[in-house]
């Protein structure tokens, strides 16, 4: 067999005549065919821009932390605020340290980025290292951009899904506890005394005032009203349901469900006394969609005999045939 000619072709060096020879020779024709057809294959999934953003961010951060070297003005975290004077090097280093100490104190609040979603909105942001944060409605998150490369910390109120790039420790601080990871995907819900962390990928560490535990992928932990639940979630998928158009509840107080309806649709509820009592005591299992308010109200009210009256963004709930109703 004409191996040399085949190698020449594979090395992209064969002429047309030589290629024809390979095609026609019964010994090499099959090999040529396979090689030729294989050229039509490709891979998918390369996120060129996202990768570049991460690489660039990393490089710029490491430039900043290099000691002694004056950083070019456009890379300086404090930008156009002040211009550092030219002095001899040791003086420069001393001055730089002093300024950073003062600056850190003075600029700390201004450097904290605040993210917020009002009722009725979901939004996604990319953090400085390329990690992703998706906020559910009625939530707030804050982080410090200039210290991000060494200290990845997000303060969260509400609910968010995180898609964290591998790197230094990533922390989510909440009033209910702290969630720590190295690089993974997880959801954190922290509202009043409801703390619910689900791990979608990787490993997540959850710390509260009296508990520390680790969650592998496919598991969640919920601490609600003092009750502790370790949940193995089958068919968790890759994203929490709230990110794909649904809110889901499993034996939860009706009042909580109605709060979530308020956040997703940006509506307000009023109650008569019967409905109010019911909301505080009844438990709901099921889900509601994010794009159909009528269906949502029907599926929540019907099981309990509640009647709803929808006017614009105001909903009045009354309990059907309640003899106690004033």
């Amino acid at each position: 067999m004409n191996q040399k000619l085949l190698d020449k072709y594979l090395n992209h060096e064969a002429s047309e005549a030589e290629i024809n020879q390979l095609r026609k020779d019964p010994e090499t024709s099959a090999l040529w065919l396979i090689s030729d057809r294989a050229k039509a294959l490709k891979t998918v999934g390369f996120t060129a821009d996202k990768n570049w953003a991460v690489i660039l961010a990393h490089h710029q951060n490491s430039q900043r932390t290099r000691s002694g070297e004056p950083v070019s003005q456009k890379q300086h975290p404090f930008g156009q605020v002040f211009h550092l004077p030219k002095v001899s090097r040791p003086m420069w280093q001393l001055a730089a340290v002093a300024l950073v100490l003062l600056g850190a104190y003075f600029f700390l609040n201004q450097q904290t980025h605040q993210l917020m979603t009002p009722n009725g909105t979901h939004q996604q942001w990319t953090l400085p290292d390329g990690s992703g944060i998706s906020l559910n409605a009625g939530s707030k998150a804050g982080y410090n951009e200039s210290s991000w490369s060494s200290h990845r910390v997000v303060e969260l109120q509400g609910e968010a899904f995180f898609d964290v790039i591998k790197g230094s420790t990533f922390e989510v601080q909440t009033a209910n506890g702290v969630v720590t990871v190295l690089g993974t995907e997880f959801n954190v819900l922290t509202r009043d005394d409801d703390f619910y962390v689900s791990c979608f990928e990787g490993l997540v560490k959850v710390q509260t005032t009296d508990t520390t535990l680790q969650l592998p992928a496919g598991y969640g932990v919920r601490i609600f009203g003092g009750m502790f639940n370790y949940i193995a979630q089958e068919n968790m998928g890759t994203k929490p349901l709230w990110m794909i158009g649904e809110s889901h509840f499993s034996t939860e107080p009706l009042a909580l469900v109605l709060d979530e309806v308020t956040r997703q649709y940006d509506v307000t509820f009023t109650f008569d006394s019967g409905a109010n009592n019911l909301a505080q005591s009844a438990q709901f299992s099921g889900s509601f969609p994010h794009d159909d308010l009528e269906l949502t109200l029907k599926s929540i009210c019907q099981p309990f005999g509640l009647v709803f009256d929808l006017e614009g963004d105001q909903i009045r709930l009354t309990l059907n045939n309640d003899p106690k109703d004033p």
Binding site: G45, K50, W52
Partner: protein, 170 residues
């Protein structure tokens, strides 16, 4: 050519030239798309951190070496979560002339036969066919001899031909 890899313009050109190929290289070994993108990021970050020690000509083999080393470390020490377990690594480019001239059945058989090749042969074969690299370029990237590349190519083709023949005769 006296260019400095540390300079952003030079570095970004290296990324544009080799980013996709490096991604492909990892993808020939794993179905995990995120892992492949992560490793591309890590390899380029490492290159930039050591840019003073690497010339533009040496950048490509540096990147492949770093990416390969990090990949092997991950496989050895961590439990890699395979999210996309049912995805195959490869797809046909429906626009390419080779695809358009074909029988779909042959293509599908070829695709799965390639996916089943032993890793060394598969990587070399796909770097040659998809990334359009010559034997010399593959040898440099994988840090093996040109003869070794030849051998892997020949074995790959032999196996593929046998697989396709067998399927044809069923």
């Amino acid at each position: 050519m006296d260019q400095n890899v540390c300079e952003e313009s030079v570095f970004s050109r290296i990324y544009q030239k080799w980013g996709q190929a490096l991604f492909n290289f990892i993808r020939y070994k794993t179905k995990d798309i995120d892992q492949a993108n992560d490793l591309v990021q890590e390899a380029f970050i490492t290159l930039w951190d050591h840019c003073a020690d690497v010339t533009p000509e040496k950048a490509k083999s540096y990147l492949y070496t770093v990416a390969n080393r990090k990949f092997l470390n991950q496989v050895a020490h961590l439990k890699v979560v395979q999210k996309h377990q049912n995805n195959s690594t490869l797809l046909y480019d429906a626009q390419s002339p080779e695809y358009l001239m074909q029988e779909k059945e042959f293509n599908t058989k070829l695709q799965s036969a390639i996916e089943s090749l032993p890793e060394g042969q598969k990587t070399a074969f796909l770097m040659n066919r998809i990334d359009q690299m010559t034997y010399a370029e593959i040898a440099e990237a994988l840090d093996i001899s040109v003869k070794a590349v030849e051998k892997r190519m020949h074995l790959a083709l032999k196996t593929l031909r046998a697989e396709i023949e067998e399927l044809k005769n069923r």
